[in-house]
C-alpha cells in the first residue's frame, strides 16, 4: 500500500501528465506512437524535422552531419516510444536530446582536430541562398556563432532561431532560468562585439 507522500507524488505525476496531454498535441501523438501507431510518428517527424535539423546545422555547421544527427535524435525518440511518459513538453524533450547529441559531436570533433582546422570541415556546398544573402556577412555570422562556447551557442540558437522561451531553454540545457539569462547576455555581448562591423 502506498504511503501518503507517495500517493500525493503519484497524483502529482498523473496530474502533470494529464496537463501535458491536455495542452500539447505532440504529447498526444507520442502516446499514440507508444500504442503502435507509426503514422503519428510520421506526423511528429514532419512537424519537427526542419527545426531540429536547422538547430543541429547551426550547432555543428555541417549540413550532412546535421541531417545524420537529426536522424539519430528521431531514432532515439522512436526507440523509447514504449516507455514514453508525457511528463514534459515533447519539443523540450526533443531539443534536449538534440543538444546532447550536438554537444557530444562537437566534443568528439574537438578531440579529432584543433578548432582552427574545424572551419575546414564546414559544409562548403554552393548554396543559392548563401550567394544571394551577402555571403561574407553570413560567413561572419557563422564564424561568430561557432566561436561561442558550446552551451552559449546552443542557448543563442534556441533563443534566436527556434524562438523558444527561457524556461524551455533552461530545461533543455539543465540550468536555472536566471543562469540561462546570464548565459544569453554574455553570448549576445560577444556577438555584438564580433559582428559590430556588419551591424
Amino acid at each position: 500500500m502506498a504511503s501518503e507522500p507517495q500517493r500525493s507524488l503519484n497524483n502529482g505525476v498523473e496530474e502533470n501528465m494529464m496537463g501535458v496531454l491536455a495542452l500539447e498535441p505532440d504529447a498526444l501523438l507520442m502516446t499514440q506512437v507508444r500504442a503502435g501507431d507509426s503514422a503519428s510518428f510520421a506526423t511528429l517527424l514532419n512537424r519537427h524535422r526542419l527545426a531540429v535539423t536547422n538547430f543541429l546545422n547551426r550547432m555543428v555547421q555541417n549540413r550532412a552531419v546535421a541531417e545524420e544527427l537529426a536522424q539519430d535524435v528521431f531514432l532515439r525518440v522512436y526507440r523509447s516510444r514504449g516507455t514514453y511518459e508525457p511528463t514534459a513538453r515533447f519539443k523540450t524533450w526533443l531539443f534536449r536530446i538534440a543538444s546532447h547529441r550536438a554537444l557530444n559531436w562537437l566534443r568528439d570533433e574537438h578531440v579529432r582536430q584543433s578548432s582552427d582546422d574545424f572551419s575546414d570541415i564546414r559544409d562548403r556546398r554552393p548554396n543559392a541562398e548563401t550567394r544571394l544573402l551577402q555571403e561574407v556577412r553570413l560567413e561572419e555570422v557563422r564564424r561568430a556563432i561557432r566561436r561561442l562556447p558550446e552551451k552559449q551557442r546552443a542557448a543563442v540558437l534556441m533563443h534566436k532561431y527556434q524562438e523558444m522561451e527561457y524556461a524551455e531553454i533552461a530545461e533543455v540545457l539543465g540550468c536555472s532560468e536566471s543562469a540561462l539569462k546570464s548565459l544569453l547576455f554574455r553570448a549576445y555581448e560577444t556577438l555584438r562585439e564580433q559582428l559590430a562591423q556588419y551591424a
Partner: protein, 144 residues
C-alpha cells in the same frame, strides 16, 4: 519603468526580449519610454536590434527530400538489430559446457589394462628380506 533594466539582473532580459519581439505592447512602450532618458539602455537596444538583423542573415534551410524515407529505413534496421541482440543466450551456456567436456574427453586414447592389485604384506616382507640379506652380507664382511 521605475528602474533601469541594465542595473537589475532580473529585468535585464527585457532588453533581449525587446529585440526578439517577445514583449507585449505595454512592456515595449514602457521600455521605449525609459530608453528615451537612459543612454546606456538606448545604446544597448540599438546594438541588440542591429545584431538581431545581422543574425537574420542565417536563414532556415530545407531538409533533404528523402529525410523521412532514410529515417524509416534506419528504424527498420535498428529494430532488426535489436531483435537479434535481444535473444537470450543463457540457456545455451550449459549445453556449450557439456559439448566442451565431450570435446575434451573424446580424443583421449583408451587406457591400457590396469595392473593387478599389489599384495602390500608380501611387498613389505620382500623388502624386509632384502634388507635382512643386506645386513647379513655387511656382517659377514666385517667378520672376515
Amino acid at each position: 519603468m521605475r528602474n533601469c533594466p541594465l542595473q537589475h539582473e532580473d529585468s535585464a532580459s527585457l532588453l533581449l526580449d525587446h529585440s526578439a519581439g517577445h514583449l507585449d505592447a505595454d512592456q515595449s512602450r514602457a521600455l521605449n519610454r525609459h530608453a528615451e532618458t537612459c543612454g546606456r539602455c538606448r545604446a544597448f537596444l540599438d546594438q541588440q536590434d542591429r545584431l538581431w538583423r545581422v543574425l537574420d542573415a542565417w536563414e532556415t534551410e530545407p531538409v533533404s527530400f528523402d529525410f523521412q524515407r532514410r529515417f524509416w529505413l534506419r528504424a527498420e534496421q535498428a529494430s532488426a538489430i535489436r531483435w537479434w541482440s535481444g535473444i537470450s543466450w543463457k540457456p545455451a551456456i550449459p549445453l556449450a559446457a557439456l559439448a566442451l567436456c565431450l570435446a575434451i574427453g573424446l580424443p583421449r586414447r583408451p587406457t591400457p589394462n590396469p595392473p593387478p592389485p599389489v599384495d602390500m604384506a608380501a611387498a613389505e616382507a620382500a623388502e624386509q628380506a632384502i634388507e635382512d640379506l643386506d645386513m647379513l652380507s655387511q656382517l659377514q664382511s666385517q667378520m672376515k
